[in-house]
Symmetry: C2
Subunit: 244 residues, 2 copies
């Protein structure tokens, strides 16, 4: 911030703002984009599904709060979760977005590989994966947040190497292509996709010397790991125009 506080400012009397984080946790499973949702147990929107999230604690940054919530909702350790891609999306601050009080929420998008069904170790034991395209009406403004998150991820796949964040440590180019096709909702030409990925320095690197069979049928595919590059130059553009 930068403006001077109002004269005689008393934090406890002036700003009844609560600050929360909301998480859009995405994964690719069965060729469909999934998002982690929790069922609300308390009154505003009780029974509705919502993005996982929670309050930012007094001595914690929003980033830390998001990482903490991610661990709680997925039931994984903070150590495991620290390897996942987590990025700030934007902040939602409409005065009426929460009927109870003034809540400003910093939204994050997380990209995780296909995980086992979440065993909620945190407060929301009812966390569950939902298809990201048809998750009924969510609580609060979470439909909007989810849509924004989906848009952002789709756009970032174009000019970053982010897609590998959806994959396990070792993956095939077919799996990587699936990520693009799933998030964008389009089909890509396989040879062209290969060429683009393999000629972009640092996007992926081949694993020593071991192919594996995917579903069993077809020629075994070579395995790759995520490379050191983060940006994609030139970008891998979506077929049509923008947005999904």
């Amino acid at each position: 911030m930068s403006a001077d506080a109002p004269a005689g400012y008393d934090p406890h009397a002036f700003a009844p703002f609560a600050v929360t984080v909301d998480l859009a946790v995405f994964t690719v499973r069965d060729s469909r984009l999934h998002v982690l949702l929790v069922e609300r147990g308390a009154d505003p929107y009780k029974g509705h599904w919502a993005l996982p999230g929670g309050f930012v604690l007094p001595r914690e940054s929003a980033e830390s709060a998001a990482r903490r919530e991610l661990a709680e909702e997925t039931g994984l350790t903070e150590g495991t979760v620290s390897a996942f891609h987590l990025e700030q999306l934007r902040t939602y601050s409409d005065p009426d977005r929460d009927p109870r009080m003034r809540v400003v929420s910093v939204a994050y998008a997380a990209l995780v590989p296909d995980l086992p069904e979440p065993r909620g170790g945190g407060d929301a034991a009812s966390a569950q994966w939902w298809d990201a395209k048809t998750p009924g009406p969510l609580a609060f403004d979470h439909d909007r947040i989810l849509a924004d998150a989906h848009d952002r991820i789709g756009a970032k796949l174009e000019y970053s190497c982010l897609a590998t964040a959806f994959c396990p440590p070792e993956f095939t180019l077919g799996e990587l292509q699936q990520v693009y096709e799933t998030v964008w909702g389009v089909e890509l030409d396989r040879p062209n996709f290969r060429r683009k990925v393999l000629t972009t320095p640092g996007f992926v690197q081949a694993v020593a010397g071991s192919p594996r069979r995917t579903g069993g049928r077809g020629k075994p595919a070579a395995l790759y790991r995520a490379g050191a590059a983060t940006a994609l130059h030139p970008p891998l553009l979506r077929p049509e125009g923008r947005s999904t």
Copy 2:
């Protein structure tokens, strides 16, 4: 937000969060990128320069607060300012970013055409344009915010038609190219830039029939207005790698 409030939650007792907005207001002037700064009059960082900003009011969204501050600091009416490009950058929430109390700040970037020297109608009468590349150490974490804002704008010029936001209603292609060169800090080939802009449908549209002379010397340039397009497909990539 989504998590349920802690049991027995009392907004006034629990969360002494203040929420502010900070603005990185950019303009291109004399072939250099400028940013609007204000001199702090009160104690934390008194005498330092800072990004303009202020508290989000109890019944106001961060977006509205940013628009309001933009009008105050530039000394223009809200009506005038509503035409300027204003976009949310990201939110800064480090617990110690303000020594006085817990302040979460939503940062915005604004792009304005070359304006007359600001006559601060608001609280900070000392608003002034500074070269965006060398604005000494700023108050709080504003150096970081400014750097992030510069990066974001530079990146958006690649795949959006945003550059016209820096130009007056009617402009020459030379002026538009100046925007790119100034923000990116590189020189572009003029014929190639022309070709790219003119062949991108909706980027610019020619004004009826009237050239004008720029500085006086040289062949008069044709005038254009911003077109209807917002995205740039394919993008106009920077010469080298990413970031500035």
